[in-house]
């Protein structure tokens, strides 16, 4: 096992010998995407004309199907088959595993008469056209025996229990420390249930080749999807070939497979035809995961200079009754600020609603909406600038575990952000700045998000035409994986980008964990880098051992790679010629990365600071973003353009969380109030004004051999808190109930007599 010291050796990427690393090149697959020729899962070509599936969903939250009649549907025009739990082909029981190395258990569809949430699949129609499938679906008659359901999170708080297998994290004596503090803040924040709302609905195209099923599906984890389907069908994993090459947004919501995958595979087997199944937009809301609501009580105690003495975040969140998931909204605080007396922990309420799960920056995204506003309140109470308060609480080592930081540029993010944003123009007195009918204010907040490296592999082939092709069972969910892997491979082998190909999203390729937790770039990228280094050694040895090579007999360890050649002094051998002579298939190697044995001896995070200026309409209570700026530190940046897109995208998610996004549960049915994009308000163009971000120079030599880290989730962390703090600065109203919609703002303004 390697140690971080092994990673410190200079290498082609850290030396950036040809300048490809960091370069803002266009997206590798960009041309396909702007011409509409990138095939997403529902769109791949099938070996013969496909049939179309349509899923019928439950209309109750909890109970039993007492009768289901699919006869009318079966005899409707064009219908090939109609399934309910009564006649769906056999599948393994939920969670079952027969393959020893499966990452996921079985996930059967239409498995029983039990209904566990509104929107659960209860019937499936297969027909010759989408119109016929949908029309037949409307003919299915279902009778239910409803059972009492727990649907209301806030009304169920008293039922909250401990998160399974978890204990509160206690340092010192919080209660004593808090009550002994000179200055305190005590507030309860609420972050509502939110939806991923990826633009591409979950979809699968499936067909069988003999006893093997080929599926193209929209999923963030290649192996996870392959294993879940294999277990559900009771097959060895290698009889499921899963492709996921282009994914129309994931954000955590496609970290798992859904019934579209299972039913497409089953229906294709039953019909002998390729099958396409897509979720409707309504099913995306009701039948995939969501970010759970979180209520957070935050208590801060400090001395008069602002040094924190006591800090507590107690979070209560929800999950589905039979699908445990904890939104760890308090965890980030453990690494962010030091205080001798601390308490952080989570409680869980079980509800009869769809499954809660991971959504972009799970934990931090809702969690920072509380603590970063509490810090703003504390700063105001102390008469301190919010940045100064944070600087006074900047720890020397990780407050959670005493480990040194690999690198922590949080203070620099705040200082540079303040300067570029014009923070000195902020009037600290709330409500002091008016622009016509608008109250205008500024707010800031910090960002923190962990950095992770998981084991991963990659394959690399160099062929006689001088092309290098990287293959990896990895995904690109819009994050830029294709592009950065091309840049890493090009830099490692001394090739220009036109000589590099990247192929992803195939379960037959060397596996990588997929996209999630902002570990993708570091994990997949490091595997690609290591594989490139294996290829360098292989090619250099070939050059030294090949009598036809100009480098025959030379020391391979002295050879360098540049411009498609292996170079030593003034002699060179081209990769194309070497690979061509090696055989018709060229040269193929695999490589891998695993976490260093001592990687966890350092505290590794990405950091940032958000600054927002908002206007609050004194008449309507509407909050409008006026400008937003962030400075971030996230290791070496592989592609300045794409990294910035990730970051600004995350910041805009923070705008949505602060101002518009929420999905209440309808207590009558257990459905979500918003089941479409007209009701669920993700930000649109007109909501986003003058938003920009800067990434600091950084290299984290404890993270991986390239010193890179993830950026996909950092941008959302703390972003909404900066906006809420700006709302307070604008109009003097502290709203702790997200999103800050006009009704709430107006009521608060009125309550203040404004």
């Amino acid at each position: 096992m390697s140690t971080v010291r092994d990673w410190a050796e200079p290498n082609p990427v850290t030396e950036n010998r040809t300048g490809l690393i960091g370069k803002p090149v266009d997206r590798y697959e960009g041309r396909l995407k702007v011409t509409g020729t990138a095939p997403y899962a529902y769109e791949v070509e099938t070996p013969s004309a496909p049939l179309y599936g349509h899923i019928v969903s439950s209309t109750i939250a909890r109970g039993r199907i007492t009768a289901i009649d699919t006869k009318a549907a079966e005899s409707a025009p064009g219908v090939v088959l109609a399934w309910s739990h009564l006649n769906v082909p056999e599948q393994a029981a939920r969670g079952a595993r027969i393959n020893p190395r499966s990452q996921r258990g079985a996930n059967p569809a239409l498995a029983s008469d039990r209904v566990e949430h509104y929107g659960q699949s209860v019937a499936f129609i297969l027909a010759d056209t989408p119109e016929n499938a949908r029309a037949a679906g409307s003919l299915v008659r279902v009778a239910y025996a409803e059972e009492p359901a727990d649907l209301d999170f806030l009304a169920s708080l008293a039922k909250a229990g401990p998160a399974p297998g978890e204990e509160d994290a206690r340092v010192g004596d919080f209660e004593a420390g808090y009550s002994a503090s000179e200055v305190t803040v005590d507030g309860t924040w609420f972050s509502p249930l939110q939806n991923h709302a990826q633009m591409e609905p979950c979809a699968t195209t499936a067909w069988w080749e003999g006893d093997k099923v080929v599926v193209h599906t929209s999923i963030q984890m290649v192996k996870g999807g392959q294993h879940a389907l294999a277990e559900t069908l009771g097959l060895p994993s290698d009889r499921v070939r899963l492709f996921t090459r282009y994914i129309g947004g994931g954000f955590g919501g496609k970290g798992q497979s859904y019934d579209d995958l299972t039913l497409a595979a089953l229906a294709s087997r039953a019909s002998g035809r390729p099958v396409r199944v897509a979720y409707t937009r309504q099913q995306m809301f009701q039948a995939t995961i969501h970010r759970p609501a979180v209520q957070m009580r935050v208590r801060l105690g400090a001395d008069r200079t602002g040094r924190l003495n006591a800090m507590a975040i107690e979070a209560v969140t929800h999950c589905a009754r039979n699908a445990p998931f904890v939104e760890h909204a308090a965890n980030f605080a453990r690494n962010l600020y030091a205080a001798p007396h601390r308490l952080t922990g989570h409680r869980l309420v079980r509800l009869d609603i769809p499954h809660a799960g991971a959504m972009r920056a799970p934990g931090e995204a809702p969690g920072m909406l509380s603590l970063e506003c509490a810090m703003d309140e504390l700063a105001e109470t102390l008469g301190l600038d919010p940045i100064e308060l944070r600087i006074r609480n900047e720890p020397e080592v990780d407050p959670d575990n005493g480990k040194p930081f690999s690198v922590r540029q949080l203070v620099r993010c705040m200082r540079e952000g303040a300067q570029q944003f014009g923070w000195d123009r902020r009037n600290p007195v709330p409500g002091a700045v008016r622009d016509g009918r608008w109250y205008v204010g500024m707010g800031m907040a910090t960002a923190i998000r962990g950095n992770f490296l998981l084991p991963a592999k990659a394959g690399l082939r160099v062929t006689g035409d001088g092309l290098a092709t990287l293959t990896q069972g990895m995904t690109d969910i819009g994050t830029g994986t294709y592009t950065i892997l091309a840049q890493i491979t090009g830099e490692t082998l001394g090739l220009t980008l036109d000589k590099v190909r990247v192929e992803l999203g195939d379960s037959d390729m060397p596996p990588a964990p997929g996209s999630g937790g902002q570990f993708g770039a570091a994990t997949a990228g490091s595997a690609a880098f290591e594989t490139g280094m294996v290829m360098r050694r292989r090619l250099a040895e070939l050059a030294a051992g090949d009598p036809a090579s100009p480098l025959y007999g030379e020391d391979p360890t002295l050879m360098d790679f540049a411009n498609g050649n292996i170079v030593l002094g003034n002699r060179s051998a081209s990769l194309a010629a070497l690979a061509g002579r090696a055989g018709p298939e060229g040269v193929y190697v695999e490589g891998s990365i695993s976490p260093a044995a001592d990687a966890r001896d350092w505290s590794q995070h990405t950091y940032g600071a958000h600054f927002a200026e908002v206007g609050v309409d004194s008449v309507t209570g509407e909050v409008r973003l006026r400008r937003m700026f962030g400075v971030f530190a996230a290791g070496r940046i592989l592609n300045a353009k794409l990294a910035k897109s990730q970051i600004t995208g995350g910041m805009i998610w923070g705008v949505g969380a602060a101002l518009t996004e929420a999905n209440p549960v309808d207590p009558r049915f257990g459905s979500f109030l918003h089941q479409d994009l007209g009701g669920y308000l993700a930000p649109v163009h007109a909501d986003i004004v003058n938003l920009d971000a800067v990434l600091l120079d950084e290299a984290d030599d404890k993270a991986n051999p390239m010193g890179i880290k993830g950026v996909g989730e950092l941008g959302i962390c703390g972003a909404g808190a900066a906006i809420a703090n700006a709302v307070y600065n604008a109009c003097g109203v502290r709203l702790r109930d997200y999103p800050l919609t006009p009704d709430k703002v107006l009521a608060a303004l009125e309550a203040k007599g404004l």
């Binding site: 266009d26 997206r27 960009g30 041309r31 396909l32 995407k33 702007v34 011409t35 509409g36 020729t37 990138a38 095939p39 997403y40 529902y42 769109e43 056209t129 989408p130 119109e131 016929n132 029309a135 991923h196 709302a197 990826q198 633009m199 591409e200 609905p201 282009y246 994914i247 129309g248 947004g249 994931g250 954000f251 897509a278 409707t280 937009r281 969910i477 819009g478 830029g480 794409l642 910035k644 897109s645 990730q646 600004t648 995208g649 995350g650 910041m651 805009i652 998610w653 479409d676 994009l677 007209g678 993700a682 930000p683 649109v684 163009h685 007109a686 986003i688 004004v689 938003l691 920009d692």
Partner: protein, 168 residues
């Protein structure tokens, strides 16, 4: 119903189910899958195409209503070699991430530029008398029917400006 629609300059005749949306006609009958289905309810803009030069949501329109119409989809924008200026601008400004909303955004931007050139005002237009000035506010307002959950909005704004030849 036998329906003939001129799509990307070619007459395409098909026997169309009257329930079939223009979007499904393009995707399923003509195999033009560049036009995306994000919601099927006119709420996201992923299915935006140009019908007789005007942008519409193809999911909100039945195919049989378009007998004789000229439909332009994302597949019809680029030349043999060169991208359409709007496509090129989206590429260099990184105005997309997952790319699923992108064909709709691009068709919408093409329609927007034509509307502005024709002097059609929007909610954001300040002066209703003179020619429409393509301000950032105009672009944001006119592109607000196209949701991008990846939230490439700043980059899309830059792309539309670039395509319009407006200095950033």
């Amino acid at each position: 119903m036998l329906t003939t629609i001129r799509v990307n300059g070619v007459d395409r005749a098909a026997d169309v189910d009257p329930r079939m949306s223009l979007l499904d006609f393009l995707r399923e009958r003509l195999d033009l899958k560049g036009t995306k289905k994000g919601c099927d309810h006119g709420q996201c803009g992923a299915c935006t195409v140009l019908v007789n030069g005007v942008r519409i949501n193809a999911c909100l329109s039945l195919a049989v209503m378009h007998e004789g119409d000229q439909v332009l989809t994302v597949e019809g924008l680029a030349g043999e070699e060169a991208l359409h200026p709007v496509q090129h601008a989206f590429l260099v400004e990184d105005a997309f991430q997952c790319g699923y909303c992108t064909p709709g955004q691009i068709c919408s931007a093409v329609g927007l530029l034509a509307e502005v050139a024709a002097g059609q005002p929007s909610e954001a237009t300040v002066d209703l008398e003179g020619p429409v000035v393509l301000t950032d506010a105009e672009i944001r307002e006119r592109m607000s029917g196209n949701i991008c959950r990846c939230s490439a909005y700043p980059q899309i704004l830059a792309a539309v400006r670039r395509a319009a030849g407006v200095a950033a």
